[in-house]
């Protein structure tokens, strides 16, 4: 960590502020921008600062688990050995715990909680359609991430929860996930089509419908009758649980909107992820969700303001001796990187209109990658020391 960056920042960075005051930090952004690493680094530093912290990751690289000194992450938070910190010359005043979301077992817990009887819960859990949900239904992972977050928050064992959001195509998916899931379970259209497969007296009106019958015949041919029976059984068993699901979705939404929570948007300076981040910032605003900070990862370093070299001067250097040739190449290289720096700035202008500059944290490309504990410490240093003068 350079001493220059430290002396520049008299007040603490936006991230440092959140870590000191919030109970929940949600890291969001498009895939491949270093979201998981940012979440881990924030949590790591929070632990150093004295907070009992848990980081919830979703589908992290195996390398992250090992960089934290864990063989693998489980669905319950595991404490990171303080020796990891000591090896990096840090003395954690708090604790760091890490976990990886297990969608299936989190979902099982939800079912057990809301099913009217343990037998019914078991019937659902054994159902084949249910087993597929956790693996294939889009939104399940997001829903369960929010569920797990709520559960950990309600338990109250931690001062701070830092959560990484799933690598969805759209960074916002997880906001809509609970609603989409409850809509899915409650779909009348589906149940209407499944009527012929529902057991008699299942509480549905028996509708003789040509379209439904034809449809089922085709579906049966494509995926088989058994699958349809499983589906019908699943939805039959789910009767009476919808209100519980919905209530939980409302509770989660309330937690996300409360003062205890802050959203950290993570992006790279690339056009696509900036577009996503800008959109996300306005969505947070519309939904009255508390924005906390913006992390711009992998920013190219900025040295100077660009050198004005005339083509004539460059040609002259290129035709000169060894030193002149070397200089020509260095100037060329500087020009190329300055072009990237300007383009990155240009990409970030749209975001600058949405997010006030004191909420920005820029993390430059580091000399090393954040693939081990010291690497995470280096990222954390950047996140906490660096305030952006845009």
């Amino acid at each position: 960590m350079s001493t220059r960056a430290k002396s520049e920042t008299k007040h603490s960075s936006a991230i440092a502020e959140l870590v000191a005051h919030k109970q929940v930090i949600v890291c969001a952004g498009s895939g491949g921008v270093g979201k998981t690493t940012a979440a881990a680094a924030i949590a790591l530093r929070a632990a150093v600062e004295g907070r009992k912290t848990a980081v919830l990751t979703i589908d992290p690289a195996q390398r992250l688990a090992s960089s934290l000194g864990l063989k693998k992450l489980s669905n319950e938070p595991t404490k990171i050995n303080p020796r990891k910190f000591q090896a990096a010359s840090l003395e954690p005043a708090g604790e760091l715990h890490a976990m990886m979301l297990d969608t299936k077992s989190t979902f099982d817990k939800v079912v057990l909680q809301y099913a009217p009887s343990p037998e019914q819960a078991q019937r659902i859990i054994n159902n084949r359609f249910y087993k597929n949900i956790s693996g294939t239904l889009s939104g399940t992972q997001e829903y369960m991430a929010m569920e797990k977050l709520y559960e950990l928050h309600a338990d109250g064992n931690f001062d701070l929860l830092v959560i990484d959001t799933p690598p969805t195509r759209n960074a916002l998916d997880f906001l809509d996930a609970p609603r989409r899931m409850t809509d899915f379970f409650e779909s009348r259209v589906l149940r209407w089509f499944l009527v012929p497969y529902m057991k008699a007296g299942g509480g549905f009106m028996r509708v003789a419908n040509v379209a439904a019958t034809t449809f089922l015949r085709v579906v049966k041919r494509i995926i088989g009758g058994e699958v349809l029976e499983d589906t019908a059984e699943f939805f039959g068993n789910l009767e009476g649980m919808y209100e519980g699901f919905k209530q939980r979705a409302r509770d989660v939404a309330a937690l996300l909107r409360s003062d205890a929570t802050a959203f950290v948007i993570v992006t790279s300076p690339h056009e696509d992820s900036v577009r996503e981040a800008t959109f996300f910032a306005s969505r947070l605003n519309e939904e009255h969700l508390p924005f906390g900070a913006l992390v711009v990862n992998r920013v190219h370093p900025k040295y100077g303001d660009g050198i004005d070299v005339k083509p004539r001067q460059l040609t002259k250097l290129e035709k000169g001796g060894d030193d002149a040739k070397l200089l020509a190449k260095l100037l060329d290289n500087e020009e190329a990187f300055m072009r990237v720096v300007r383009l990155e700035d240009q990409n970030l202008t749209a975001l600058a209109r949405k997010v006030p500059s004191h909420r920005w944290v820029r993390v430059p490309y580091l000399e090393r990658e954040a693939v081990d504990f010291p690497g995470l410490v280096a990222i954390a240093d950047q996140l906490f020391a660096n305030t952006s003068q845009h």
Partner: protein, 326 residues
């Protein structure tokens, strides 16, 4: 390798982890095909990607549209593919509309995982089979890698689950297309970074072991080109170590250029930055080349933060040169 040989399979599937520049490579391959007199169609899979922006074209739909001369774009949406399938196979045009307007595909694909992928692959197969089609090359901008294995192995799952019937037969047809390197080829895209390299190696092995597909090439995106020769690099290191850069400033002056200390810091700073990044990249590229049987094609880092057609044209140049050397 001759370009004609590279472009022999009608279907080119471009795949890799999110954020590695799949779309860029797909677009460059399409330009290469177009330059060689082939009409290409890039198919995105169920997403609103950045492809149309590269070509400055409107948002893609299920119906292919020309984005630039000889290059078409389309978006394969499983719901629409199902509608088309039902229409073609069962003449159920009216009912098929229901699928595109409700969550049906969500339910059905939850009931039978992999169906969404089958529908997408089915559409690609359908395009490949169409002998009257204007497309000589179909480039698939495939879903991200973890998902990609599921995507390409979907026909096997379905084929195993359904022992008989029309759908079982159709799943077999898809597998035959995927396994025949003269009909389709998977190309992997990666970055010279830790995670993308590890995932590419895993994907390459799993494709072979689980689906029986040998991928064609691995494209390593964003590789910084060397700046200095060994001699120049040594000279620079020496200059920096001596702390005296006046030699360079004097050279500048002789060329009519005044460089102050900040300027000197900038050129040295960027040279060192490049060298540091190149060293990191080189170590990942070494691991990658050792870890995959496929030839690795290095594509240069583009000094632009966005995507524009001239950049893709440059990449297409490199792709042509590199393929010729394979």
């Amino acid at each position: 390798m001759q370009l004609d040989e590279f472009l022999e399979p009608r279907v080119l599937i471009v795949s890799g982890k999110g954020g590695v520049g799949k779309t860029t490579v797909a677009a460059a391959l399409a330009l290469v095909a177009a330059r060689h007199g082939r009409t290409a169609c890039i198919a995105e899979v169920d997403r609103k990607g950045s492809l149309p922006r590269v070509f400055d074209a409107p948002v893609l739909s299920y119906q292919p549209k020309e984005m630039s001369p000889g290059v078409y774009g389309m978006n394969i949406v499983p719901e629409e593919a199902l509608g088309e399938y039902l229409d073609v196979q069962y003449h159920m045009k009216r009912i098929s509309r229901i699928f595109t307007s409700t969550h049906f595909v969500d339910y059905i694909t939850t009931a039978a995982p992999g169906l969404k992928d089958i529908l997408t692959l089915g559409k690609i197969w359908y395009l490949e089979q169409d002998r009257n089609s204007r497309f000589d090359t179909i480039i698939v901008d495939a879903p991200a890698a973890g998902h990609m294995l599921t995507f390409l192995s979907a026909p096997m799952g379905l084929s195993d689950a359904l022992r008989v019937g029309p759908v079982q037969r159709q799943a077999q047809w898809l597998l035959e297309m995927l396994r025949d390197p003269l009909r389709s080829r998977v190309h992997l895209v990666t970055l010279p970074e830790e995670m993308p390299v590890v995932e590419t190696m895993e994907t390459s092995i799993a494709l072979q072991a689980r689906v029986g597909i040998t991928s064609g090439a691995v494209f390593a995106n964003g590789v910084y080109s060397p700046l200095l020769t060994k001699k120049e690099s040594a000279a620079l290191v020496e200059l920096i170590a001596s702390g005296d850069l006046t030699t360079l400033a004097t050279e500048a002056k002789a060329a009519g250029l005044n460089l102050d200390d900040d300027d000197m810091n900038a050129i040295v700073g960027y040279a060192r930055f490049l060298e540091a990044r190149r060293a990191i990249q080189a170590s990942h590229l070494r691991i990658l080349k050792k870890g995959v049987v496929e030839p690795v094609v290095e594509l240069p880092f583009l000094f632009s933060a966005g995507l524009a057609l001239p950049d893709i044209e440059n990449l297409a140049d490199v792709v042509e040169e590199e393929i010729a050397e394979l």
